[in-house]
Symmetry: C2
Subunit: 149 residues, 2 copies
DNA sequence: GTATATGCAAACCATTTGCTTAGCG
DNA sequence: CGCTAAGCAAATGGTTTGCATATAC
């Protein structure tokens, strides 16, 4: 995750008050290198300040998403997951055996998408590409084969 | 949608009993050319047999997905949407202004995905590409910029 | 006849919201 | 001080499940 700008600046330029809960939540987001969901985020936040309500976590991440600071993803399981938006766009490989998420970027795919949208008379607002994968290594035990939804 | 095989055959080869509700649900699925969610599916099913419970719709559609007969998608709104799996793979353009879903296929993108997965030491289990778009037409008012989840 | 399906209602889970109080600017 | 935020709990929306009955095979 790791925000390029500092938290106070992010709040100020988005017209958000720099409150205690926000500081903690944004600090946790900034320190997270994975793509936590709201509940996991709340768990991490609670280790720092147990008094912060999960409703505040939801309100904060939604606010940050509206302001364009965060991106919201849904990788098949019901929950929404978040990551910083202040990086170059990338897509995700999801290891179905472990749930791990790997980021990648393909300019060629990006370009093809633009082309496809244009051919249909549209411009792209956003897009998501998720590739659900498993290790090539055949010797690995089957593991819990999560559904690919 | 439109199943290639007939409904009785689909049930039989998947070890499912050919019940009244299943006949109706699968018939509705087969007749749908869009990507209905469970509630919409239930609405259509109810026009034919008002006695069928939405729980049965959910159970049926999940069963068919497990058996590989249906694909389940989530296009950002909370609901799951379904379509037949017995066609060549394709991806989706989602018009954010209308919610319309347009199918497309790009062999080149498919190929690039294979390549990316392989480079990371994986094979593809499945993948989803959703391009959220709006009409090129500039004269349209800004509209409600729905979130891109 | 017996295991599988269904209907119904209650349960679930993630997320949102109304209301009141707290605290940033 | 005034208005935004937070906490809490109740509400929501989509989806699943337990249980008793019905039905396909």
């Amino acid at each position: 995750m790791h925000f390029k700008k500092d938290i106070a600046a992010l709040c100020k330029e988005n017209g958000l008050r720099l409150t205690g809960p926000r500081k903690v939540i944004m600090q946790v987001l900034s320190a997270s290198s994975d793509h936590p969901d709201a509940v996991e985020l709340h768990r991490r936040v609670s280790e720092i300040d147990p008094g912060i309500a999960i409703a505040t976590v939801y309100r904060t991440v939604n606010l940050l998403q509206e302001k364009g600071v965060l991106e919201k993803h849904t990788f098949g399981d019901g929950r929404a997951r978040f990551e910083s938006a202040d990086h170059e766009h990338h897509d995700h490989l999801i290891n179905v055996e472990t749930g791990d998420v790997i980021e990648f970027r393909s300019d060629e795919i990006e370009r093809l998408q633009e082309e496809i949208a244009r051919q249909h008379g549209f411009t792209i607002v956003s897009h998501k590409l998720q590739i659900y994968v498993k290790p090539i290594d055949k010797k690995r035990p089957p593991g819990k084969g999560k559904e690919t939804a």
